[in-house]
């Protein structure tokens, strides 16, 4: 009888230990949790900048063509070149151009891309920080649906903007851009579909991706 009680106790203790020492989790949940914890927006943005973005710069549209389309056929501009991650009245564009700097101020430098280069057409932003998602969205390379939560998608944008400030703007400003000099640029802009009616096309604001002083 004592033996039976002993065995029952041993089995009970063993069962108790097994119950508290073992747990089951859905493998997919564990993988997702790890993926979430392992995500590093700065690393993602750096890889995007160094390895992915250069591959799409050859698709950048000439800013002169874009300005013309904005003013004459916005629907075509959106269809051909505009990008948005979802439903929006604002589209992002990857663009390129060159022209003389007409004015340098704390927000950036105004550049004329149209002959006879008397009026500025674009403002290349060179502030101490860059807000928004222009570069991320204009590239068309980052798909929001790939992320389990959209915060990561947004953090990437913040990190890309930091790279723009550090790698593009700061190094360019060190070269001392001044009025009269010609700049070649790749960049991104965001323009609303009703920008023409709202008179918002006077000066296209560009987030720089590459800047070269001639």
């Amino acid at each position: 009888m004592k033996m039976v009680v002993k065995y029952i106790l041993i089995v009970a203790v063993f069962t108790l230990l097994l119950y508290h020492g073992t747990y089951f989790k859905n493998l997919q949940d564990v993988r997702q949790q790890r993926q979430r914890e392992a995500f590093n927006a700065a690393e993602y943005a750096r890889d995007f900048w160094d390895n992915q973005l250069p591959g799409v710069l050859d698709k950048a549209v000439d800013v002169k063509e874009l300005i013309k389309l904005f003013n004459t056929n916005m629907a075509q501009a959106i269809e051909r070149y505009g990008k948005a991650p979802g439903v929006s009245r604002v589209y992002a564009y990857l663009l390129k151009g060159e022209g003389p700097i007409l004015e340098v101020n704390e927000n950036g430098f105004k550049v004329s891309v149209e002959e006879p280069h008397t009026n500025p057409d674009v403002l290349i932003e060179t502030g101490s920080y860059i807000p928004g998602n222009a570069v991320r969205d204009a590239s068309g390379l980052i798909d929001v649906s790939k992320f389990s939560d959209t915060m990561k998608f947004n953090e990437i944008s913040g990190e890309i903007n930091k790279i723009v400030v550090k790698d593009v703007i700061e190094s360019f400003l060190n070269k001392g851009p001044s009025s009269g000099r010609t700049v070649k640029f790749f960049g991104a802009t965001q323009v609303a579909q009703d920008a023409a009616e709202e008179n918002e096309l006077e000066l296209i604001k560009i987030i720089p991706i590459r800047l070269e002083l001639e």
Binding site: G86, S88, R89, P131, V144, S148, D149, M151, N154
Partner: protein
């Protein structure tokens, strides 16, 4: 034997006729109705007019498409939400239009529905998963608050003390809004956030929280609120403290009372989300899914637009004058 065969044939014909009749009913707009198909609209809370608009629009659109639609209120309680999912699964619903209570906590419910063969379409609030819901139609809170943050900096002339009232801490919208706002505002060292506290997206709670904050910080110049209900609560607290004309209030949603308050010069600005547009999209996509479509974008950000005293004429409650 012949008689039995005859009865069997009659019964089979009767059942077939009944089935055909159900399939061939026509809805008012001429689309094929699904008399027995129901769509559930499970909403995080109906204690906020913005979500009432979201729920009502989803229900109305589903009904227009020929479905029977029912609204379930989770009262911001994940346990209640879970009960609703159990009932919806047991009730044989064809689809769920879902506004979650918790980005992580609600995943299990959507998973349960998926396992039961019921597709879920998230609206406005996100779940932290990209493979259980059919699609998630979400306000682009981060980008909306970047724009709002830029306007905030301009109105504050880049300096001054302010307070931030956060929403529900487990909701991704809370953090997407806050981080979008701070991605701009934190670049101005003379803008000092003296308090950041959750008022859980609730008007009364926001009033209480700001009343308490004002005791210790009577010299604030602005309050940034993570939704419009809190903006109205904050404004009430400022009126009670006699500071309504000295402290600027910024909201987020585009709710009726805040749109009216911007027009009346009381609230400074808000971010217009489009609850009607999102709810209609979700109902339409559920209809497409039921009809056989399977290729949906998993996450669909819907842009938020800045509403200020300068452009208020273009907007109405919950949308733009032109198309909502």
């Amino acid at each position: 034997m012949t008689r039995r065969l005859f009865i069997f044939a009659v019964m089979t014909l009767a059942l077939s006729a009944l089935g055909c009749k159900q399939k061939k009913q026509e809805s008012p707009d001429g689309q094929e109705a699904r008399a027995k198909e129901k769509i559930a609209v499970i909403i995080s809370t109906l204690n906020n007019p913005w979500f009432v608009v979201l729920a009502d629009t989803a229900k109305t659109r589903a009904e227009e498409l020929g479905y029977e639609a029912m609204i379930f209120d989770s009262q911001n309680d994940t346990a209640k939400e879970s009960d609703h999912f159990e009932n919806v699964i047991a009730g044989g619903y064809a689809a769920i239009l879902f506004n979650p209570t918790d980005a992580d906590g609600s995943i299990a419910n959507v998973k349960k529905a998926k396992q039961a063969g019921i597709p879920t379409f998230c609206i406005d609030r996100e779940i932290n998963s990209n493979d259980v819901a059919v699609t998630q139609i979400l306000s682009d809170n981060y980008a909306g608050c970047v724009e709002l943050g830029q306007y905030f900096v301009k109105k504050m002339s880049q300096k001054g003390k302010y307070v931030e009232l956060l929403g529900i801490l487990g909701d991704n919208n809370t953090w997407n809004r806050s981080k979008g706002f701070h991605s701009v505002v934190d670049n101005y060292p003379e803008l000092k956030m003296v308090a950041q506290q959750s008022a859980e997206f609730d008007r009364t709670r926001a009033m209480e929280v700001l009343e308490s904050i004002l005791q210790a910080n009577p010299d604030i110049e602005a309050v940034f609120c993570g939704n419009d209900a809190m903006a109205m609560g904050a404004f009430q607290a400022l009126v009670a403290a006699g500071k309504a004309d000295k402290v600027m209030v910024f909201g987020f949603d585009g709710a009726k009372d805040v749109i009216d308050s911007i027009r009346d010069g009381k609230i400074v600005a808000t971010g217009m989300q489009f609850p009607k547009r999102m709810a209609r999209m979700a109902a339409e996509q559920a209809n497409e899914y039921i009809k056989g479509k399977r290729d949906f974008q998993q996450k669909v950000p819907v842009a938020v637009e800045l509403v200020t005293r300068e452009n208020i004429a273009k907007y109405t409650a919950y949308g733009r004058q032109s198309n909502e």
